[in-house]
């Protein structure tokens, strides 16, 4: 394999991993607070369609991104009303949100199918983008890729060093104890949920505004689900979410590159690579029950009933 090809593979790996990274980071924060939102796919689709329509009608990509953040939050709000306020089953609510988002985005986007838009273009960072092999992958991407890296870093710092970060973690572990020491469980969960929604909207917008600047019904093609698996895969750790998203990106690129190189492995088999990788890690994690219990937030998925 020549250097150019490796450089290009790494570049594509980062791009392919970016929508997964954005969505998974949002879900990570949400789950850390104890809320399990399986509606990522639906929120992503809404972010993709609204972001695209907004950018197309106003001619402003940034406006498109903002609208996708807002619509992601609006979708999350719907989830919050049911799952946080009314204490509905989180799994069922999340699944309903995905179905709702898939249907609504298809309906809203009908008139916008087949329209073209000039998406976000790569922004080369001088000097750094000339670094061999890694330079192109990390420093000649579009602005949303840089944002995703910045957000990952911010979340890592947030959980590692900040008091609010500790607060979110404490609430995810034991909302009752958190209440006892005076932490606002409901408000914190709402904020984490809304952040997750915004990130899912952004992940959708990455597809429709940067990666493949167009709207197509169901264009996320299951990426919201993969992002959900990634969070478990990464055992709720930010740095592992980043690596996992890129690993998944790499696996899905390699399946195409290997075919182009004439590798005589069944393309169907190769296509399962990323999923296999996810399943293997999930199995490894869950093979040790006490370990996986330690990793997942203790109250994940459980509605919170304030005592008294």
């Amino acid at each position: 394999m020549d250097m150019d090809l490796i450089t290009n593979i790494l570049f594509a790996m980062v791009r392919t991993g970016t929508p997964l990274l954005l969505v998974a980071l949002g879900e990570l924060v949400c789950e850390k607070s104890g809320v399990l939102n399986l509606g990522q796919e639906g929120m992503m689709l809404m972010g993709a369609v609204i972001g695209f329509i907004a950018a197309l009608t106003t001619g402003s990509l940034i406006f498109g991104v903002i609208m996708s953040l807002l619509v992601g939050m609006a979708m999350a709000m719907l989830f919050g009303l049911l799952a946080i306020q009314l204490r509905a089953n989180q799994v069922a609510t999340g699944l309903a949100l995905t179905i709702f988002g898939a249907g609504l985005s298809a309906y809203v986007g009908t008139d916008y199918i087949g329209q073209a838009l000039a998406g976000f273009q790569p922004m080369l960072i001088p000097l750094l983008s000339d670094i061999p092999i890694l330079g192109k992958a990390l420093f000649s991407q579009d602005i949303l890729v840089y944002c995703s890296l910045g957000i990952a870093l911010a979340i890592w710092l947030f959980f590692r060093f900040s008091r609010p970060g500790l607060m979110v973690k404490a609430i995810g572990e034991s909302p009752d104890s958190a209440t006892a020491v005076g932490l606002p469980v409901i408000r914190t969960r709402w904020l984490a949920l809304l952040f997750g929604g915004a990130m899912a909207g952004l992940g959708g917008a990455y597809l429709s505004l940067a990666y493949t600047p167009l709207w197509a019904e169901g264009m996320t093609a299951g990426r919201g689900w993969i992002a959900l698996a990634l969070v478990v895969f990464a055992s709720w750790k930010v740095e592992r979410v980043l690596l996992g998203a890129w690993l998944f990106g790499l696996a899905s690129i390699m399946h195409l590159v290997l075919q182009g190189m004439g590798a005589s492995i069944s393309s169907n088999l190769l296509a399962t690579l990323p999923y296999l990788a996810t399943i293997v890690v999930l199995v490894l994690l869950s093979s040790n029950q006490s370990r996986s219990r330690l990793l997942a937030p203790m109250s994940l998925g459980k509605p919170y009933h304030p005592a008294g």
């Binding site: 593979i9 594509a12 898939a102 009908t110 019904e217 093609a221 590159v257 182009g260 393309s267 296509a271």
Partner: protein
């Protein structure tokens, strides 16, 4: 999950349809023609093409016919219900436009012997069920000729959906056209195992470009490969519809489907009581395949050559799958003077010389 949404869409569409039919029953009796679509009419691809065909038929036949359509009908149990409903509502002619509607169409057709059915892309016929499809590969041969002239690297990338005969036909026809003018050029095929996944299509196109392809062809339904080519400064061919707007510099042309003529003729045949259950597999001659506008980057001499081929294919003086044709390993697969019959073409599961990689089984 998806079928739930589709169910909802279908019920809305059928409800609309029922009101429509009650409203119009007062008027004189035009031929009622029903269409069942697998996607939304705005998909810019397959279903859009069929609906354009329906509209052309309406324009040509005017008051003699009356059409209804139901969109986004999933290929399972829903299809049978929708088709039966159309038959019950007194439609005289029903077009079912997706491969997966084959068995439901035949089943309903048995219960309604007086209704005429036309099923697209299937292989089973009945007393009142005809089939039809287009010879997309004829257009692909022409894109191959253009690619042969336009490539500098002599490597062409091909984004494939599933390794089924319809797609393999296209790859082979393309490669034959390519090598007829440029024997050194080769085709790299990448399968994405989906008809429609814009992100994956784009990844596939980009990985092919990274591996030296300077022209991208596709047998998937979204314009993402054309977008990728535009961004990377290479050429591409679209498919199904004119995809120029997704890559004004990149898009050379594409093999497009055109159903309007066939729909008009079929409805006319039913009106004139001339209709028979047949298999129609039309290409340029039937007007079922057309080329998208040619990019200005293609030299006029090449356009002239391609147009000449098109005329010869249409009038039958040139046959694409006529020997000698070498298989991938260089052995003679089709001997000189032999023409492949439709059965051979419809079951094609081998690559011609010039295609790289092995065909997955």
């Amino acid at each position: 999950m998806k079928s739930l949404i589709k169910k909802a869409l279908v019920s809305v569409a059928t409800a609309g349809l029922m009101t429509l039919s009650t409203l119009s029953s007062a008027v004189e009796k035009p031929l009622k023609v029903g269409f069942v679509y697998v996607g939304p009419v705005g998909d810019a691809g397959w279903t859009y093409g069929h609906d354009e065909g329906r509209l052309e038929m309406v324009e040509k036949l005017g008051k003699n016919i009356e059409t209804t359509y139901v969109e986004s009908v999933s290929e399972g149990a829903d299809a049978e219900r929708v088709i039966r409903k159309l038959a019950q509502q007194g439609h005289d002619l029903i077009f079912t436009t997706s491969f997966g509607y084959m068995n439901p169409t035949l089943k309903v057709a048995k219960q309604f012997p007086n209704v005429k059915f036309q099923h697209a892309t299937g292989y089973k016929r009945g007393k009142n069920v005809g089939t039809y499809s287009a010879r997309f590969y004829e257009g692909r041969y022409l894109t191959g000729v253009i690619a042969g002239h336009m490539t500098k690297n002599n490597v062409i990338g091909y984004v494939g959906s599933f390794p089924i005969p319809e797609v393999v036909q296209g790859i082979n026809a393309f490669t034959l056209g390519l090598r007829s003018v440029n024997p050194d050029a080769t085709v790299k095929v990448v399968w994405i195992n989906s008809w429609y996944d814009p992100a994956k299509e784009r990844e596939a196109a980009e990985s092919l470009i990274a591996q030296g392809a300077d022209i991208i062809n596709q047998h998937t339904d979204s314009p993402a490969p054309v977008q990728a080519a535009q961004d990377k400064g290479v050429f591409a061919f679209g498919y199904d519809t004119d995809m120029t707007r997704f890559g004004p510099d990149a898009h050379l042309t594409g093999s497009m489907v055109h159903w309007g003529g066939f729909y008009t003729d079929t409805a006319k045949a039913v009106l004139d009581k001339q209709w028979k259950a047949e298999d129609v597999w039309g290409g340029f001659s039937a007007g079922m395949v057309e080329m998208a506008p040619y990019n200005k980057a293609i030299p006029e001499t090449v356009v002239a050559q391609v147009e000449a081929f098109k005329t010869q294919i249409a009038d039958g003086t040139f046959t694409i799958f006529e020997g000698p044709i070498k298989a991938q390993d260089g052995s003679i697969k089709v001997s000189e003077g032999t023409k492949l019959n439709d059965g051979d073409i419809l079951s094609m599961n081998w690559y011609v010389e010039g295609v790289e990689g092995s065909l997955p089984n």
